[in-house]
């Protein structure tokens, strides 16, 4: 239990730092919502090596921490909507066993962007924002692929270690 707590703390710190790195070097393509999603790396690794409950806890803690540290209430609402939808999509995609880590990550990226745009539509009460959805599907797919390949490499190396440590 103590070891598991330490692991969770470590992964939370890692997710937090990755979010910070992304905050420091924003990719600005002129369209809001386009980003790499580095922190999702930690969520996916947690999902595959520890479990659904741990992955949910991790992303929730990270989003709240980030919201208070770098963001504002509006940004936190955005991340929360994206984060929850992305997690649900990844948990579902993993369960149906049709995709490997990369496919799960791609779906996570796309649904993250879907959640964000839906939150934006609700906040500003303007459905025309869905105009940007194709662009965000594109960016979510590309970012999800990169993150997914990285996550697969990390999981392959860490899986046994983390499982042993948490016995």
């Amino acid at each position: 239990m103590a070891k598991k707590t330490a692991y969770m703390g470590m992964l939370t710190a890692l997710a937090f730092v990755l979010s910070y790195i992304e905050f420091l070097i924003p990719i600005n393509l002129g369209i809001p919502g386009v980003k790499l999603g580095l922190a999702n790396l930690v969520t996916i690794v947690a999902l595959y090596t520890m479990g659904v409950k741990e992955a949910c806890t991790l992303s929730l803690v990270r989003i709240v921490l980030n919201g208070f540290t770098f963001g504002n209430p509006a940004a936190m609402l955005y991340s929360l909507a994206g984060g929850i939808l992305s997690l649900l999509a990844m948990i579902g995609a993993r369960r149906i066993k049709l995709f490997s880590v990369t496919g799960v990550s791609v779906l996570g990226g796309v649904f993250h962007n879907l959640g964000q745009i839906m939150a934006a539509v609700l906040v500003v009460e303007n459905a025309r924002l869905l105009y940007y959805f194709p662009v965000l599907v594109l960016s979510g797919t590309l970012a999800g692929t990169v993150i997914g390949i990285l996550a697969a490499l990390i999981i392959k190396r860490l899986d046994k270690l983390i499982r042993e440590q948490n016995q």
């Binding site: 369209i31 504002n72 509006a74 940004a75 995709f99 990369t102 496919g103 105009y131 194709p134 599907v137």
Partner: protein, 124 residues
Amino acid sequence: MKKNDVILIVVLLAAALAVYGFISLFSAKNTKEAQAVVYLDGEVQGSYPLDHDTSVTIQAESGGYNILEIRDGKADITEASCPDKICVNHRPVQNRGESLVCLPNKIVVEIENGGETEIDGSTK
């Protein structure tokens, strides 16, 4: 990576490109009366023709503000009171259907064709 992953990625990319192409094909045509319509919390607050250079300060209900500039047929938010500056960093918009959004101030600037009587974009 499994075969299914590759199929998923290709299908998503193709679908996104197809929808994007479809949208830009049918909505990018501006009429002469194209204008930037400012929505405040979902309500129309004002509209400004794109062929007339101007600078407007939009006052949000929360006390915040956004400065909208129209220049060379493009609308751009050049200054804002919000902390994230997403709207300021957004590239200038000029085609019908494109929009600039400031979530903290609940402001949307959208390009619409003049002469359209119905406002089909707002959800009530």
